[in-house]
């Protein structure tokens, strides 16, 4: 109760102070705001926006090769592909192509010969059943809500890969430095490959998944197979590799983390 009273007094004082501001003070504050705004504008790189939409069938393929920046791909129910990108200065050239059902965005090709190109952060929405094949040299990749035949995310150097709610027959995620997280289904006869040099690889899969697996973590030897504990697995090479089968083992799962951990999480 007393605290409430004290708080009310402070508010009254602030209101009185505001009322006491005279002309020179206002000018000073205004100049200060203008100064900071100008400094802020100078620090933050100018950004351009890119937006384009393509009509698409259900079996469309997205093929994106970025230089640097974040790429986010989300599945949606519309039969169209929506591409939006924010381009940091110096702005990159973007010239997407629609080649008979394949949307091709290649920033390496579009900016060949340019030495200085700013980050490009993509947000792309595709039909659920799309094939997604995205690459970047540096930056994070994220794919969610996609159930096409293939999801491939490749980072040439560093960046995290997040694959959420994926139901694809073939999944490939590869980076050098960074984490990989997969949350999705393991389909019959599917092929799943996750490779990192240093980072954590975590795979969240349904309990009743069926696959044969080779998981290798030679440096840490930290391979946690919690989600598949009932399966028939064996440790090889002093625990550096786990080989085994879960269920009838129709799908193939290959996980390699040279200097990081591998974990299976029950979905």
């Amino acid at each position: 109760m007393s605290a409430h009273v004290v708080g009310t007094d402070i508010m009254i004082c602030r209101v009185n102070n505001r009322k006491r501001l005279n002309g020179p003070a206002k000018t000073t504050i205004l100049l200060t705001v203008v100064f900071f705004l100008s400094v802020f504008v100078g620090i933050v790189p100018a950004q351009k926006k890119f937006s384009r939409t393509y009509p698409a069938g259900q079996n469309i393929r997205l093929q994106l090769m970025n230089r640097t920046g974040t790429v986010t791909v989300e599945g949606w129910s519309r039969a169209e592909v929506s591409i939006t990108a924010s381009l940091e200065a110096p702005a990159a050239n973007i010239a997407p192509q629609n080649l008979s059902g394949t949307i091709v965005i290649n920033l390496i090709r579009d900016n060949q010969g340019r030495n200085d190109v700013g980050n490009v952060n993509f947000t792309i929405r595709v039909p659920y059943a799309s094939i997604v094949d995205i690459e970047t040299k540096i930056g994070n990749l994220s794919v969610s809500n996609v159930s096409g035949g293939l999801v491939r995310a490749h980072i040439s150097s560093e960046g995290d890969i997040t694959l959420m709610n994926i139901s694809a027959g073939a999944v490939s995620a590869e980076n050098v430095l960074g984490d990989i997280f997969f949350d999705g289904e393991i389909q019959q006869e599917g092929n799943y490959r996750f490779t990192s040099m240093r980072g954590n690889i975590n795979l969240r899969i349904p309990f009743n998944s069926s696959f044969k697996m080779v998981a290798t973590a030679p440096s840490t030897r930290n391979i946690s197979i919690g989600a598949c504990s009932g399966a028939n697995f064996g440790y090889f090479g002093d625990g550096r590799r786990v080989v085994g089968r879960c269920g009838n083992g129709s799908a193939t799962l290959t996980v390699t983390n040279q200097r990081g951990n591998i974990g299976f999480i029950r979905r």
Partner: protein, 226 residues
Amino acid sequence: MDNELGEIQAADVRMHLAVCSGCALVCEDFSSILDVCTTEPASGLVPPNSQALWCRINNIIENENKPVPPETEQPSGRFWHFSLIQVSAAVLCIAVVSSLLTFVTIKNYTQPATDDFTTRSAATQTTFEKVLSKVGLTETPQEARNTRLKQQQAAIDYWHARVQTRRVQWDRTTREAFDRNLQAINETVNDYTMILQKDPYDEISGEMLDTVLDDKMNLLRDFSDL
């Protein structure tokens, strides 16, 4: 010509000879022979040494009428004179050798060398492969790995040279990111190299070294076009 025909027949013959040039020529020949026989003395008609002439004629006629003698079997060399056992043994040897060659060919075809011998240890070699390695027909896993490493190193050197020409044009962020990643890969390569120096038969380390060198090559190649 000999006046042996009747008048009617002679007339018919003359009529025929008048219209048939072939028969007329034959008749002329006969007439000439008869003329010679009747006009020349007998000594002039008999050839000198007629007996020898007849002998030659007889020989020629006999040679023409003699049946062709069957081809006499050429005397064969000792090379083809094999016994049944020897032939059987030769056939068996050919079958075994061709089977082995077929097996090796199929095995090499179905198991790519880069993913196999480079990452395999002597412990996982089959007896047949060990025998082939012993006699020098195939590489040992260590030799295959060294060959593979040389190939990878050559590719890495090539892409590294290309990156060096490009990296001066990169911005600072890109250069730092590239160096960080290359360093992480190099550290991993060094780790596996040291492990393999201590234990050349470590199958997993051999496989991982192969993978990491591929990763290094891919990193260099990917950044060479920036």
